[in-house]
């Protein structure tokens, strides 16, 4: 074997790697927050009494879930400008990621809402809780407790999916790795470092989410 590993060549770029990590986290966080909002709307639309509204919500969810994210990003970034809507790579990335997260979040939220029974709210009223207390302790917390693991899984998934927006050169960890690769010609080392960073990020976040779950959402269930 003649190849010499040269990770030292990447040392001058550590700040760029760090910036990439931060951009990746930001993208994932923005996408999950916007995705949650979209997901709530889509979930409500799916339960609407109007057939057309239900149908459009279902089509949105199914189309997003059954096509590759890469094609969705390309469609938005390269396709929309031909209709007169020009987006920067970063905006297109956020739009595509949020729409993608929204479709998956809709199903997750539906599960949480359906788990709260009417009797539970009535029991709260019977115990003399005020409406705000009922919402906080009887509706919100149990619903969050049910969807939290799936939601945190969705965040990790979003973190990994952001790498695909490098294909429209939106700046994040994968695309800055490609630029560092082009500069140093150390492809293997660059992507090894990037992969390790992604792994570190998902490890940190999954550990944090598990801790939050243990602290806030672990009380005896009936």
């Amino acid at each position: 074997m003649t190849y010499k590993f040269d990770f030292a060549a990447l040392a001058p770029h550590w700040e760029t790697f760090l910036r990439g990590c931060w951009q990746t986290i930001s993208l994932a966080a923005i996408a999950v927050v916007l995705g949650l909002a979209i997901g709530i709307v889509a979930m409500l639309a799916k339960r609407s009494p109007i057939r057309a509204v239900r149908l459009s919500a279902t089509s949105y969810i199914e189309v997003v879930r059954n096509t590759p994210f890469l094609v969705q990003v390309m469609f938005i970034f390269f396709g929309l400008p031909t209709l007169g809507v020009s987006l920067s790579p970063w905006t297109a990335a956020i739009l595509a990621l949020s729409l993608n997260c929204g479709a998956f979040a809709a199903e997750i939220i539906r599960g949480g809402v359906e788990a709260i029974s009417k009797g539970q709210v009535e029991a709260g009223t019977a115990l003399g809780l005020r409406p705000l207390q009922i919402f906080r302790f009887v509706v919100l917390k149990p619903a969050l407790r049910i969807i939290f693991p799936a939601l945190s899984g969705q965040f990790i998934l979003a973190l990994l999916t952001t790498s695909i927006v490098s294909s429209i050169s939106a700046e994040e960890l994968a695309s800055i790795s490609q630029s560092i690769d082009a500069e140093t010609f150390r492809s293997f080392e660059v992507y090894a470092v990037a992969t390790a960073l992604y792994f570190g990020l998902s490890l940190i976040f999954s550990t944090a989410f598990k801790a939050i779950n243990r602290i806030y959402f672990s009380y005896p269930v009936s």
Partner: protein, 216 residues
Amino acid sequence: MIRLFGSHEVLFILAGIQWTLLLSLVAFLGGGVFGLIIALSRTSTLAPLRSIAAGYIDIFQGTPLLMQLFLVFYGMPVFGVKVSPWTAVTIGLTLHASAFLGEIWRGGIQAVPRGQTEAARALGLRYASRMRDIVLPQALRLSVAPTVGFLVQLIKGTSLASIVGFVELSRSAQIVASTTYKPLLAYGLAGLLYFVICFPLSRFGLRLEQRFAVKS
């Protein structure tokens, strides 16, 4: 020169499907074989084997598929093996699939009641027979719905092969988009074709899930 979006372009995109399907099939079969080994290691009585399998699963589930493909594509030449994009993405997707299928089937194996294994052992069956005749048939039955779900994910995942330069459905759409300057049509058609493949599979997976949910 800008080409028109004619029947030639449509056929070119359609031809990409066969590579998407072939890639999915090979990765799914290869991933199935290695995934079974991962699942068996993950549920083994040997602690080191269990940890290795758990680590393998964690790494592949905690890093982007795109990076996994890049590492195989740029990594194999480093170790003296020159590979074509086709070989690289096949290996990358197979490794990826084996981690996910391994984790799905681990769940299935552990969901089979312990009494089944104990009864088989009491009857004097050895490990191979216990697994082949008693545990795995039940475990695979339990895992069939999530396995189909993963197949959909895998088919969508093959689109990333285009970034490494392999021409499949997404890449042929990209080529047509840049030669005809009709990205909306090209990516729309590609998206539609993915949907036609994935949607029935998703539905099938959902039906399986409901059927097994009723039985258990």
